[in-house]
Symmetry: none
Subunit: 212 residues, 4 copies
């Protein structure tokens, strides 16, 4: 069996075990078992527990970003009208893709969101890169929406950044919730968040704020 295939099997197993047990509690023995190979082979290909975990993070981060990108580009119309979608449709498509992907690979999401971020520096930095990529994308969407609405730039740049953080944070949180509670589909989660967020953003763009 070629090396590349075996490596993917190992990463599959590792993501599963890391997701279920946590980084520390996961044992290389169990990972090798689940991958259907011997432990030395895991070391031969991936060198150490640390590198194995890093490889998992990288693969899953790339897969998630790719999924969201594909969702946004593909849009709703089926790939024809590329790039021309309005900001709200792009956000909607991105959220759907995000919730779908995380629902399909719950262990991967746990690894990225819950495990990697709580295991200290070599790993946290790895996910931080991906997250910033997504935050930047959302930020650009909000800014574009403001432009589309032909408003004077009522929203300061710093404020937009804060809103993007809140939106991404809410999405992350809902992903965990939707996965944990089986009765919520990806589409429902996306709709809930879209409703919650888009209306709020619209109001803010009108300059209406809540003050104590």
């Amino acid at each position: 069996m070629p090396r590349a295939v075996r490596e993917q099997q190992m990463l599959d197993a590792a993501v599963r075990i890391f997701g279920q047990r946590g980084y520390r509690a996961a044992s290389m023995d169990e990972i090798a078992d689940v991958a259907g190979v011997s432990k030395p082979l895991v070391y031969l290909y991936l060198n150490s527990k640390e590198e194995l975990f890093t490889a998992c993070i990288r693969r899953e981060a790339a897969a998630l970003v790719a999924a969201v990108r594909a969702g946004v580009s593909g849009g709703e119309g089926g790939g024809g009208v590329r790039g021309g979608l309005p900001a709200d449709r792009q956000l909607w498509a991105g959220l759907q893709a995000f919730f779908t992907h995380t629902a399909e690979r719950p262990d991967a999401w746990v690894v990225l969101h819950n495990q990697a971020r709580t295991q200290g520096e070599p790993f946290a930095a790895e996910v931080a890169v991906m997250r910033e990529e997504i935050v930047a994308f959302v930020t650009s969407l909000i800014a574009e929406a403001a432009r589309e609405a032909h408003r004077k730039p009522e929203l300061a740049e710093r404020e937009v950044a804060g809103l993007a953080q809140a939106l991404v944070g809410a999405a992350e949180s809902l992903a965990g919730w939707a996965n944990g509670d089986a009765s919520v589909s990806a589409k429902e989660a996306a709709a809930t968040l879209m409703n919650f967020a888009w209306a709020g953003l619209g109001e803010l763009m009108e300059g209406r704020r809540w003050v104590p």
Copy 2:
């Protein structure tokens, strides 16, 4: 030294170490050291690592809920006019209390939010109880707000629940963000979230929704 005091010292130490190292990486040796007692004494009082961790979770969960409750009840006017505050003021007070408390006890927040939820079943259930309590409270606030606005109950119960989840999730996410990034105060975090959320909720109560 009375037993109750010693126990609190141990829990203090445990929360700190669990928060900094994670459940698995934390060693009973270090906890006993930091607590200034011998290891067997820790076992005498708290039986096992698992029970010790559970005790930490319970204590900190109770403290957090109590802080939020106190914030809401105390309100802005100083404790006199109980229960009479409008829903938005109550939410505002609760958010402020939440962000303040988590900022004051970062290790405790890490234990509750990052560690307990990722260490499997005995522990995840423990925090889930507390979280549900808070979600229920937020849900009641949203419902009350709808009543105050004298609308027909346009918002289905299920929908309200989803919104509460999103709001709580966003708050949790922002708490981590605010603690990690020193430049954001509790009040700022609360204001960001309040702006984001209240406008959206208001719109929804008016029956305006985003549809694809």
Copy 3:
């Protein structure tokens, strides 16, 4: 059982196993077994294989130097005439003590001479210190002998150093030989070397050299 005693037992066992198997081939498991304790206790007291080996080297080096010193000081006459012995008697006493000690503790000698010196830098340096101490002592003896013989200092300092090296080297080598081949007693080994060396030194002090 008090800690100090246990530590000596562990060192006894370690010296034996390191001597018989070599540093790498010796297993902490076997050492713990032979010491009659569990492996974690060995780690609790001596931290690591490396530190354990270093502790062995230090203890045995000190013991060997002490034995030689005691032999020289005690002299043949029984401790009365301290310090006044002529150089040849001192050398004779030192050699006897050296061969006696190495014969009594063959594993310790193997550890010092064969193992420690071939396991790279943390360890080699440790024995080098002891060896230099002995070489310095022998050097001073040769120089004193030259003075006693009322010769002009025919022997250059560098030459004396080389002779000391050769003498110590010969002694080290004979120690291994005498221990390996049971029919040679410590006294015989000392006599052989004394005969071999003292005559040669005497000749050299007379200025007689072998030239091709």
Copy 4:
């Protein structure tokens, strides 16, 4: 590439690695790498780590003995006057050859002297054979020297054996010393030992002994 050549390359690599790392710490992987072949090929030709090590010992022992023999036979005059050299010239030639050879192949010397002798029985015996051959040769030289001096055989056979042991031991020790300390050439080492030894031997042949 013919098998014999490949085998020599492997032995070259093995001697180097065994010498630098020690028997246990040397890995078959590294040896195969350095030899420029794959690991299974090493096993195909040399069967096991143990046999590989044994093969190294045998080859290097034979090479060393051959070098010394050649030095003695070749003598100073260039190979013409075989066998006629006096004993001291033969010893001088042998020592020079010995120190030259060990200086040229330091790893080989480490393998023979430091590693093989400390790795237990299969290997120690292998070098012992070679050493005895050399000791026997030196013994015969001393005896011949005594004859040449026309003395009655004052030196008992047992005594001669002891002296040969001491001389060989001193040479072994000086070899390590000279290789480790770069400032000593083969010729210097040989001269130091020759001076030290021949005078002592001469004295003994005259019947002058050191007595306590």
